[in-house]
């Protein structure tokens, strides 16, 4: 490549790659996007609890909480009653078993006594 040719192609490249004008409203569009970004960054965000400022939602939440407390309380009371009944039944069963045990001991002692009397009688008769 001769120097002349090189210079010519470099000159042509400079012309072909010369700076071009941006669209007329380019800067305005950039500024609009900057403002848009800024607005979205600084816009107050609604915290989740702000939903309770609506009357309907507030009353629904209060009702739901109250219903949960009542249902929970009733359930707890029922569980306690059932548990108390179970304890009473257990105590009664234990008492019944103790009584039955003592009655059996009495009966065995009586049987032993009768056996001993009969044995003595039969020995005397043999003598």
């Amino acid at each position: 490549m001769t120097d002349k040719n090189l210079n010519q192609i470099e000159d042509q490249l400079k012309r072909a790659l010369s700076r071009q004008e941006a669209p007329r409203d380019f800067a305005d569009q950039v500024l609009a996007r900057v403002a848009e970004q800024h607005a979205s960054r600084t816009a107050p965000r609604n915290p989740w609890w702000r939903i309770f400022t609506q009357p309907l939602v507030r009353w629904a939440a209060i009702t739901a909480t109250a219903a949960s407390l009542v249902i929970g309380g009733i359930h707890y009371r029922n569980v306690r009653i059932e548990r108390a009944k179970g304890e009473a039944a257990k105590q009664q069963l234990m008492l019944a078993l103790r009584i039955a045990g003592s009655k059996l001991q009495l009966a065995r002692a009586r049987v032993n006594e009768i056996n001993a009397t009969q044995t003595n009688q039969s020995r005397r008769e043999e003598e």
């Binding site: 490549m1 040719n5 090189l6 010519q8 192609i9 470099e10 000159d11 042509q12 490249l13 400079k14 012309r15 072909a16 790659l17 010369s18 700076r19 071009q20 004008e21 941006a22 669209p23 380019f26 800067a27 569009q29 950039v30 500024l31 996007r33 900057v34 970004q37 800024h38």
Partner: protein, 180 residues
């Protein structure tokens, strides 16, 4: 001085800042838009990319120390965004004949040769294309291009030589030795 207002204050602080930023955009918009336009050969894509660059500039102004730093930063970010944009969009590979004329461009000299050269530059690989744009649009030397693109000076020089030789050969093949 507009730059002082911009560089001394954080972004989003009043009208003075907005006016100074607008002036800064107008001063550099041609450079940023042209790099993107010559690289992408797509006017609307170039406009979108250039706007993104200035949005990024707005957010980064507190880190920039001088007008020269702003210019260097804009060239660097535009170059990197061009490559990212091309890879993300995976624009279809173009042949010399298919390359769209980058807008209603005006230039002196042979309009046919100018159009052919733009098409040829648009068909170069990404890095050599950027190097050619920074060399002939921005009139940067190999050292400045190397700094802007974060690559060795030797690589820049060899890309320049190879691209020039390739373009000369293509031009010769297309329009003959008569023109050059």
């Amino acid at each position: 001085m507009a730059e002082r207002v911009l560089l001394d204050h954080p972004p989003d602080t009043g009208t003075a800042f907005a006016d100074a930023f607008a002036r800064l955009v107008r001063r550099h918009q041609s450079m940023v838009f042209s790099i993107a336009l010559h690289f992408l050969a797509d006017r609307s894509a170039a406009e979108e990319l250039a706007q993104d660059v200035f949005l990024q500039l707005h957010a980064n102004l507190p880190n920039l120390k001088s007008e020269e730093h702003v210019t260097f930063w804009l060239r660097k970010v535009t170059a990197h965004r061009c490559i990212d944009f091309k890879r993300r969009r995976t624009l279809p590979q173009v042949s010399l004949e298919e390359v769209a004329e980058p807008g209603a461009l005006t230039s002196n000299g042979d309009p046919f040769l100018t159009r052919k050269l733009r098409q040829m530059i648009a068909s170069l690989p990404e890095k050599p294309r950027l190097i050619m744009i920074l060399r002939y649009q921005e009139d940067l030397g190999p050292e400045e291009i190397a700094e802007t693109l974060s690559m060795p000076v030797g690589t820049v020089k060899s890309h320049l030589q190879r691209s020039l030789a390739l373009l000369r050969e293509k031009v010769s093949r297309t329009i003959g030795e008569v023109t050059l």
